[in-house]
Symmetry: C2
Subunit: 336 residues, 2 copies
């Protein structure tokens, strides 16, 4: 039986001091979780991401490392569910491929092994739409069977996508070999309150907003027709909860926002929220940057997630961006 | 300058006590290499694979492990070229995913780092047509830009393919970050003298031959229309040599045999070589086995290899199988 009632259960969030980790912790605590453990080594995670939660009586913070098996074994003992978030994304993978492969592959191996050894009932693994890859092949509806396109993409982006493919398959492997139940959620690009500055696409929102606030014109690379398909962090927190609650196991589904948009639409939306009044500046390709986006128009289909765990996204981009910006404005005065 | 004249140069073959390793060592020695080092931990490699070479005056055997950085650094010092063969294939990946990811990912990281640190001029990395994946998506001409299909494939097969994708990208990463020249060769299924028993597809040749020799009917799974695209080991040894000799760098090409064939054609060919006289037994899907082959008809295109390193396959399957079987018959009496 792989369904976990949230109320009265204990959860560990590996890589918990993060955007998705803190939102999911709040979601699980609100649903009556007996305990939520945020496990993080704070190399990428931050105190700021969890400042609003850290005095919660049912939340426990554990400083630990996914590369240290004793840390994982100690922290997972007694847990009902484990959410595996700890990962390098592409920008960090480019800077430090060794560290990224360690965390994204060895870290997942160890977390799954620790979950198995300590009797965790269900794992939710945070995968990514990066498993569909990059470049002109990525177009139309991206469904769960879409292959991984990589021709011409930067090494770090392919390493990231392939590391997520491996993480997913390690989950399947542990299910087959050891019966460990799991759900893989393929997150699209996450944004929302407590946004960090490590993800190229989400960073673009913040950079655009800051430019407009300074009275500068925001930059659009290429002709602005490139697709972005974000998902609001609160929607993902709900998806994580529902993945634990549902009886589903041994399955991978996309969790994307209500709809994709073009870069130009996104920039216009952020410009409006920042006060408007400026037109975007269409520039060429950004030199020397790791490019992460596809040339084609695509949509990350999330219908399968509704069928499998009953989830669909609720927060439209306008609303989610407004929340992100309200949080950003509210926090800057506090020096975070 | 990434072209290496074989005559007078020194080469290390990591994972050298193997089918491809021993054939490539002979190829390089015949071309006048000053020294060839076979580096192997003998966990998968075997003395039998290199018995015919081991007294060669310009060959040196080093017992070492790709997971031990000091072993690699010691062995690579002074080498001009490094051929990276050490890998688990799918059957071993299924038995021991941890070991497989260690060797296929960490092992490649370490070998590349050791090559960089010791000033190796060029690396040839043995990748695989497994980077195109499995299942019904794999059809038609598989060219170097073909994506990775994995829906429905067994975890171990996907782990293997994804580990090869990562190995290739690590080569690209080391080229970009450190200028280390490399050529990736995507081998199709290798067969030939000194055939080992670890690769599912090549194993099928041996099993079929042995059945017919015992007077039994060879088994064909499904309707026999599944594609196989093998490459003869001597052709691959030549491809490895030519990859070192060519000025090509920062590129990945397919190295497959002259043409694909169906399983039924293969079985008829092996049956004939074994003395013939029996008809294949068409059975259903093989229960409980890791399935590695595609449902569709495909051809692994090798035209790019000719353009890039001047290589094309020379040995037709009939000829290569005859050599494999002559070797097998000649060796069984010697207890190898």
């Amino acid at each position: 039986m792989s369904a976990i009632a949230i109320a009265g259960s204990r959860f560990i969030i590996v890589g918990g001091a993060s955007l998705v980790g803190s939102a999911t912790a709040a979601e699980l605590l609100d649903a009556g979780a007996r305990e939520v453990v945020l496990f993080d080594n704070f190399s990428l995670g931050s105190d700021a991401a969890i400042a609003h939660l850290k005095d919660h009586p049912r939340l426990r913070l554990v400083r630990g490392d996914v590369l240290r098996m004793p840390d994982l074994l100690d922290a997972m003992r007694g847990m009902d569910g484990a959410l595996l978030l700890a990962a390098y994304m592409t920008l960090n993978m480019d800077r430090d491929a060794w560290g990224g492969l360690d965390v994204n592959i060895r870290g997942v191996q160890q977390a799954l092994e620790a979950a198995r050894a300590t009797g965790v009932k269900k794992v939710v693994f945070a995968s990514s739409n990066a498993v569909y890859g990059y470049g002109p092949g990525v177009k139309g509806d991206l469904v769960e069977e879409t292959p991984f396109f990589s021709a011409g993409a930067p090494p770090a982006a392919i390493l990231y996508g392939a590391s997520k493919i491996i993480g997913e398959q390690l989950c399947r492997h542990y299910k087959r070999k050891h019966g460990l139940d799991y759900v893989v959620l393929r997150y699209s690009t996450v944004y929302g309150e407590r946004q960090h500055y490590r993800a190229a696409n989400a960073l673009y929102i913040i950079e655009t907003y800051d430019k407009v606030k300074r009275g500068e014109r925001p930059q659009v690379f290429g002709d602005g027709s490139e697709t972005k398909h974000f998902v609001y962090v609160g929607d993902l927190a709900r998806a994580n909860r529902m993945a634990f609650e549902s009886a589903a196991t041994d399955v991978a589904v996309n969790t994307s926002g209500p709809r994709p948009m073009t870069t130009l639409e996104l920039v216009r939306m952020v410009t409006k929220l920042a006060g408007g009044g400026v037109e975007p500046d269409f520039v060429g390709e950004e030199p020397g940057k790791v490019r992460l986006t596809s040339g084609g128009a695509f949509r990350i289909a999330h219908e399968e997630a509704e069928r499998v765990i009953g989830w669909k996204p609720q927060v439209e981009m306008e609303e989610g961006l407004a929340r992100l910006i309200a949080w950003k404005e509210g926090n800057e005065g506090r020096g975070q």
